[in-house]
Symmetry: C2
Subunit: 393 residues, 2 copies
């Protein structure tokens, strides 16, 4: 799989091989921040590697907006099958080294890849649609906590995520401080900015504007694919940098030697690329889930209600690795530094890496080698220190 038009350099290390999506069904109610309760719900998840005897080698990976539980490996032996979305990062000898760690990822609550969300069947036998309750990052994390309980896991060596996944990782460190050893916060923000909200809202408006959306009640008819494709294009452009778009496409025409002067069909390669991204996305994603999960991003402000961001973080006990990318204009280095500064102010252990990378927000997925050095190196060091008897520091 290529992101952002850049081909990730293939990691020479091993693959997790053929994996299976699992599901856990919960009848323990999930009380949501919006005040409503999900009486029963399902989480889809995958695991890679082996849980050690003491249960001390667990890494929870939290996925981004349109991700899912299928982080790595393959579902079949079909050589044409694409691996999970972060296959380059999860496997024996990789960034998240499955010869050492037991890695878990679950599809977020509100999603559409096996976990309960607006496209799921409600107790009345019909799809929820907009009757599904609003979900927040806190709710996603609480659901994940139920999953860990279900799996008999009571501690996380690390929780890690990029983008929305980073928000979840941070929420974990605050919500369940006793459980989290290390928080790996990648290409993310402690607080969605007005511009973050604005871009998400434009995507939602594109879905609302599609008559097929029908107030979210479209599961027995044509889904609002036109609107969802536009929403994806809006999102996608925020994942790339001006530089990467220019390098990859510039003003190159698509299948034409001279401008055809036409509408609808692409003229420039960059238009064709956007169209392709939209078309690819609507095959795999539910429009209502897109609404719910972008809202969860927008609602995220870890400091909400506290006098300062530092006050909100004071409860945390994890060590932090914060990584941002120089060309990421969606979740900027400045936003990540707000977190770093607040963590430092309360004396928590935090390492910050600003990675010089050209691929914008998507750099966290594209820059595999750099990320392997930074994140894999951090995990390696921390694991060694933890398992040897030397105190860390």
């Amino acid at each position: 799989m290529t992101f952002n038009g850049a081909k990730p350099r293939r990691n020479q290390n091993g693959s997790v091989g053929v994996v299976k999506r699992q599901t856990a069904h919960f009848t323990k109610p999930l009380r949501l921040r919006c005040g409503r309760t999900l009486e029963r719900y399902t989480l889809a998840y995958e695991t890679y590697g082996t849980l050690n005897e003491g249960g001390s080698n667990v890494i929870l990976i939290c996925h981004a907006l349109t991700g899912d539980s299928h982080v790595a490996g393959y579902y079949t032996d079909d050589p044409a099958e694409k691996p999970g979305w972060w296959d380059e990062a999860v496997g024996p000898g990789k960034m998240f080294d499955t010869s050492r760690f037991f890695v878990i990822c679950s599809n977020v609550i509100g999603g559409c890849q096996g976990s309960t969300g607006p496209s799921s069947t409600a107790p009345d036998g019909r799809p929820y649609g907009l009757r599904f309750p609003a979900v927040t990052v806190q709710d996603m994390v609480r659901a994940q906590r139920h999953l860990l309980d279900h799996l008999g896991i009571d501690a996380l060596f690390a929780v890690a995520g990029g983008s929305l996944g980073g928000m979840q990782a941070l929420q974990w460190a605050v919500e369940y401080p006793e459980m989290v050893g290390h928080c790996l916060f990648l290409a993310s923000t402690p607080r969605s900015s007005a511009q973050n909200v604005a871009f998400n809202e434009i995507g939602r408006q594109a879905i609302y504007a599609d008559p097929r959306w029908n107030d979210g009640d479209y599961y027995d008819a044509d889904p609002p694919q036109g609107g969802l494709a536009v929403a994806r294009m809006v999102g996608h452009i925020t994942y790339m940098s001006e530089h990467s778009l220019e390098q990859k496409f510039g003003r190159r025409l698509q299948n034409h030697d001279a401008l055809p002067y036409q509408f609808v069909d692409p003229e420039y390669a960059v238009e064709s690329y956007l169209k392709y991204q939209g078309e690819k996305f609507i095959k795999r994603f539910d429009a209502n889930s897109y609404l719910y999960i972008t809202k969860a991003c927008d609602y995220f402000d870890i400091g909400e209600g506290a006098p300062t961001l530092a006050d909100a973080l004071r409860v945390a006990k994890a060590r932090f690795l914060v990584v941002s990318f120089s060309s990421d204009w969606l979740y900027t280095p400045e936003q990540a530094l707000d977190l770093v500064t607040a963590l430092e102010a309360i004396g928590l252990d935090v390492r910050y890496h600003l990675i010089h990378a050209d691929f914008g927000h998507d750099s966290f997925l594209v820059e595999v080698d750099l990320m392997t050095n930074v994140v894999g190196g951090y995990l390696n060091q921390m694991w060694t220190k933890t398992t040897s008897n030397y105190p860390v520091e």
Copy 2:
């Protein structure tokens, strides 16, 4: 009128008062760059100030994407009427001082504010719709040239414009070098980048996705207002800066003390603002014109076909004032500097001002006082030097 949420400081100088939109009808064919020809067309225009005897005091203002010929003044005596879109800049004693200059602005060909465009009636008596030929910045400029011929004007003291208007100003300097004394290139680019094209294409895709667009044939039915509103929101966010959005809206809720957790209706103030911008825009703009004019922006590359940008500019004889804004991420200072560097390389007279301003691309409209100093000061100096007998320099 306020832009960008910032209230322009009211200029203490005079207003052009009540003005009238005029129209000129042309039967001289306009051969377009796409290879097609408009046999007859109309341009709407306005003028402010008085043409002097020698015809040496003409300034042509070129409008931006969604602008029109109504730059300044009022159409009625109604005190509630909003003035033209750059009223702060055009009038006695203002940036474009109408006590000295004769200012002209015409609605671009392809537009929907009085000039012939896709919503106009074709020779067969029906609206053109997508049958209207593609237009480029060069075509806009050539049509303006016909208008000047019609008005008996054979020289421009200056041609000025921001954004798409700047592209037109630059095209003027290259297309009719003998006619242009000064080219004022504001918040613009000599070449639309891949990212510029991408944002415009997303807006177009939002329009295409609206079933009411109906391949551009909607003039006897409901227009594609949903799609056009989304297109406007996409555009609008590129006109503002992250900083200005944060300053104005932050995470403030709209009419709520606590998050209502709802869809469609705005929760955050920034969402309400975007919605308002969309709703306001669809009342005044035609969706097909939006398609045509964004395409004209995308097609713009003044260096196209020449070995280098400098080579393409070598024919120009004007003096240049290039102004860009530190927070403009649509047409960046770097893009403007490409023009400056090329002009310097061929020994043309160019002054460059990078204005430190927080309002993003819209700064050229919002930062009236700074712009009056820079642009008004430049015009004042150049006019004084031209009309005194001292050579300029």
